[in-house]
């Protein structure tokens, strides 16, 4: 177990470095000279060369990557070309907002998905199963940016119940857990929750159905174990794989919230990324993607470790 832990950690290092390389290369696959994103087009040539040297853009690519990596690993992402502020000052606020949205959506999606999946798996082929499966298919097929708009039309335009935009009253960025703020969270979180809801429903349904078909459940029933007792055995067997799927989904939500954040003007990483793309603010683009991807790598690692710890059937040496 300990060996596996260490090996898994060591294996994550080249992955993290390669992810860094991909993020670094993003700026260089962008058409045009990266210097053009920094200095105005009509700047005198000497100034351009001066800045090129200051930014280290005259060095060969591997050296540039090394310098960038050294800076990034201590949290220095440079400063935004659009606002002039350090990238981290904007990014840290945005990450908090995205995390809040993604965790809420994950909670809704996981709870609904587990209930629907367990019901569908236990009552396979019945009416309940058909409804749960239809909801799951709809959940994974719906373009969530469109679902967000539909919810806004229903709950903000037709019925003036919930705000359509922002994360707080008057577009304030400070968060607190009061009704004013929670109101703003409801629509985007529900919108974002349909994908994990669908996927978790499908996964749990499959796992539960498979476990219920196994011999040991028959034995337990034959021994006279009650429904609740059998349920506990099913939960224990289904938990490791379900948690693994949920963990990955949380990662997808963090990275995939950009479309929903754009619809609701939610001040998270998605909106930051969207603005960075259209202002050609490459340092912000690079940093946001790097941080989100690193979060995903860490989450993958965590999921693997939790799954190994929970499931005695997985023997990893």
């Amino acid at each position: 177990m300990l060996f596996y832990l260490i090996r898994r950690f060591i294996y994550a290092i080249p992955i993290a470095l390669s992810v860094g390389l991909v993020c670094f290369m993003l700026v260089h696959i962008a058409p045009g000279d990266p210097i053009n994103a920094i200095v105005p087009a009509d700047a005198p040539l000497e100034l351009v060369e001066q800045i090129r040297r200051d930014y280290g853009l005259d060095q060969p690519l591997p050296i540039q990557f090394g310098i960038w990596l050294a800076k990034v690993s201590v949290g220095d992402f440079g400063s935004s070309l659009a606002t002039g502020r350090t990238v981290w000052s904007d990014l840290s606020v945005a990450i908090g907002n995205t995390l809040r949205l993604a965790l809420t959506a994950a909670l809704i999606g996981f709870v609904l998905g587990s209930i629907l999946g367990a019901l569908a798996g236990s009552f396979q082929g019945t009416f309940i199963d058909k409804i749960a499966v239809s909801l799951a298919v709809a959940g994974v097929s719906v373009p969530h940016y469109w679902l967000g708009m539909v919810l806004v039309v229903i709950f903000s335009v037709q019925l003036p119940w919930l705000p359509a935009m922002g994360a707080g009253p008057g577009g304030s960025a400070d968060w607190s857990w009061d009704w004013e703020h929670i109101q703003h969270l409801i629509l985007p979180a529900v919108t974002l929750s349909v994908i994990p809801m669908g996927i978790v429903t499908r996964t749990v349904r499959g796992i539960v159905a498979e476990i219920l078909n196994q011999d040991f459940i028959q034995t337990l029933r034959g021994k006279g174990l009650t429904g609740r007792g059998v349920f506990w055995h099913v939960v224990k067997n289904a938990a490791p794989n379900t948690i693994a799927v949920m963990g990955l989904q949380l990662g997808y939500l963090m990275g995939g919230s950009i479309l929903v954040e754009t619809v609701f003007s939610w001040p998270g990483t998605g909106l930051l990324l969207n603005n960075a793309i259209f202002q050609r603010d490459l340092p912000v683009l690079q940093a946001t993607i790097l941080v989100l991807a690193m979060f995903f790598v860490a989450l993958n690692l965590l999921v693997d470790l939790v799954q190994t710890a929970l499931d005695p059937r997985i023997k990893r040496g």
Partner: protein, 303 residues
Amino acid sequence: MADGTARTAAAAELAVQAREAAQKSQGYWAGVWKRLRRDPVTIACALILIAMFLAIVFAHLIAPHDPYQGSMLRRLRMVGTPNHLLGTDELGRDMLTRLLYGGRLSWFMGITPVVLAFLIGTLFGVLAGYVGGAVNMLIMRVTDVFYAFPSVLLAIAISGALGAGTINAILSLTLVFIPPVIRVAESVTTGVRGLDFVEAARASGAGPLTIIRVHILGNVLGPIFVYATSLISVSMILASGLSFLGLGVTPPEPEWGLMLNTLRTAIYVNPTVAMLPGACIFATSICFNLLSDGLRQAMDVRA
């Protein structure tokens, strides 16, 4: 003479074997078709998709108006307006016409990346699985790196860096879908490679190309095909999503995601019309998803 007869007999026997094999493989597809026929949901989805496909291909014959011709006098008409069955958009262009033409780009952008990823991913996956060793190591480790990105993020990152455009969007989505196809192809190939019939083929003198073409691809293509059809749904949502963000198709070209974006401001005036392009994406995506589920069951491919 006797030798010749023996050869003829052997050839005849071979021919019989070949015919039997052909019948057997026909038996598989006949079975698939038989199971599909008994699955009304899958058949319905296939028919809806075929109808949609024909409608968008023949948009220039069916569409009642010009997709680019608008009029400030008839902006945002309601659904059911005479002469404009599905109303008009924010620039007074006929919605039905725009939806029909818009399907062309949405379908093209949704399906092309999956087809490209299917071809490229199968190539690398089979190569990694069949050759093994260092080649496998190299291909699979590069795949791991791309797996370390959430797919939506990767698509947006690449097309964000490349800049807006239909080609860039297709390119970024292709890159996103190649790694999962490689993984499926590699795992099936590795599984098949060690089986007895492959060994037997090799022992009887079949070259690597023949083995890959006949034995490996014969077993690998089914699962990958089913997997690829399930990707189309995601791909359509993402492709239209990129256009929705302004990273895909550029105005005034009709495309469902972009139309949804430009109609966003109209949700207070005419919500029904504003929701139509998204409903089209939803309908297409759910049909492809259900079709893929039906195929998976009919072809008996494990998820």
